[in-house]
Symmetry: C2
């Protein structure tokens, strides 16, 4: 975690919530969680996430050429994912490696659990 320089999302604070479909979220919870969804709400970042999540770790040098975008732009998107708390980065020598933070994934997955939803939304 060489580059955790920023006030990244606190996943412990996020981890408090029951599934979306169980109880309305208060404003504070929503303000904590929305940035995670927002970070995934861009096609480039979604692909970056899936590339990183598909392997134990991924070098920026392998991510950048997969897109028709400049290096700085990829770096920007990676920063958004980092600041959302979805990935971690580590510099090892010349290269920087990215890894997913699985607890963030689990958290979002739990929010989207619909199994305990009220009748109409589980049958509609």
């Amino acid at each position: 975690m060489s580059k955790q320089e920023l006030p990244v999302v606190d996943l412990n604070a996020v981890a408090c919530c029951s599934p979306l479909a169980v109880r309305p979220m208060d404003a504070e919870q929503a303000a904590l969680v929305a940035p995670l969804f927002k970070a995934l709400g861009d096609p480039i970042r979604l692909r970056l996430m899936s590339m990183i999540a598909s392997v134990p770790e991924m070098c920026v040098c392998d991510l950048t050429p997969a897109f028709d975008l400049s290096g700085p732009t990829i770096s920007h998107h990676l920063k958004v994912l980092r600041e959302a708390g979805l990935v971690d980065s580590e510099r090892r020598g010349t290269w920087v490696w990215y890894r997913v933070k699985p607890e963030a994934f689990r958290q979002l997955g739990a929010l989207l659990d619909i199994s305990a939803a009220p009748a109409a939304s589980s049958t509609a």
Copy 2:
């Protein structure tokens, strides 16, 4: 579905994908899925979603006063959720009722399933 006037997200097309952590997403899949996350990436919309998902259905007249925002603004956010395919609306007399589309929820939840992830991202 009185107001399904628009080229709403096709959930069948979205439903194709394996979890993020299993295989990189291609650009086309990402373009289909990202708008769903994006729609949830705003605190107001996240709260609207959770309010709607917590009950069988919800009247706009009960959603609007829960926020410190104008009617048009709430209407705008509901439209974003509708066009993302996350909710359905139906007018019954004077009022408009919103319901979640549970298949969209299930889809996003499946994408975030991390149980089949490669070693480093399930242990880090």
